[in-house]
Amino acid sequence: MKWALFFCAVSVVALPFQMTMAAASDDDDIVILAVKPRDPNVKPIAAAVSPKGEDISKPQAANAGVQVSRR
């Protein structure tokens, strides 16, 4: 009974570590086979601020991004 409780406790404590390792290995497993070209209209999104420096960007509304072209 004591051993059962001990193993149970160890399992519970180890669970977050196991989950972290699983998540990390998921990313490690990924292999990119092919990538289609990006639409040139997709632009990076610049960040404006208020006069005091607070963030005022609205990323989901501002889906156009700044008009940045590559040199």
Partner: protein, 195 residues
């Protein structure tokens, strides 16, 4: 007499209108009671992809002048002017303003974001990726935007897996935002059985 004067003044005003309109757009600044607020407004519009007039940069010049000696306001004015420079594809100026903002106030995530965009635009993609990572480390208000921007820089640098993971992170952070999901759809992905 008064009627003649009024007629003459009206005629002059009508004749001068096209000139005034063209000049106002190209060179003459409108009176700006609060250039710092106006600069911020123009930057917000430019950042959202809206068209802004060239003289908006001059409004931000005024904002920078007015903010001298005020750390937060000066950094903000530089950040906002850098957004306008990006919109007008003046990447060296955008980079200089982003650096000036960081110098004025360390820890302003938006300056690092705009710095990353400027570097990416001139194909300095590794430095751009680092600038975006610096922005992420500062806990920005909209981290999904920074991951999205870094994804583009990584993709341009040939780091397709890094780009994929960043687009995915952006999509996870902002599930209602379609653009990262649309980018993810371009990737054909498999899971390696060896790992």
């Amino acid at each position: 007499m008064n009627f003649k004067l009024l007629t003459l003044a009206t005629a002059c005003a009508v004749a001068a209108m096209p000139v005034m309109k063209a000049s106002a757009y190209d060179s003459i600044l409108p009176l700006s009671p609060d250039p710092m607020q106006q600069c911020s407004d123009y930057a917000a519009r430019a950042g959202a992809g809206e068209a802004v007039a060239k003289w908006s940069v001059k409004v931000c010049d005024q904002a920078v002048d007015k903010a001298k000696g005020m750390r937060d306001e000066l950094a903000a004015a530089y950040v906002n002017r850098s957004v306008l420079h990006l919109a007008f594809q003046q990447y060296d100026a955008a980079l200089a303003d982003s650096d000036a903002a960081i110098h004025a106030k360390a820890g302003i995530a938006q300056a690092h974001i705009n710095r990353g965009i400027a570097l990416s635009a001139v194909k300095r993609n590794k430095e751009a990726g680092q600038a975006f990572s610096d922005a992420i480390a500062l806990n920005p208000s909209h981290p999904e935007v920074v991951y999205f921007d870094r994804a583009m820089a990584r993709e341009d640098d040939g780091d397709m897996k890094g780009a994929y993971l960043d687009y995915r992170k952006a999509a996870q952070l902002a599930p209602t935002w379609d653009t990262p999901k649309q980018q993810l759809a371009r990737f054909t992905v498999a899971h390696s059985p060896n790992s």
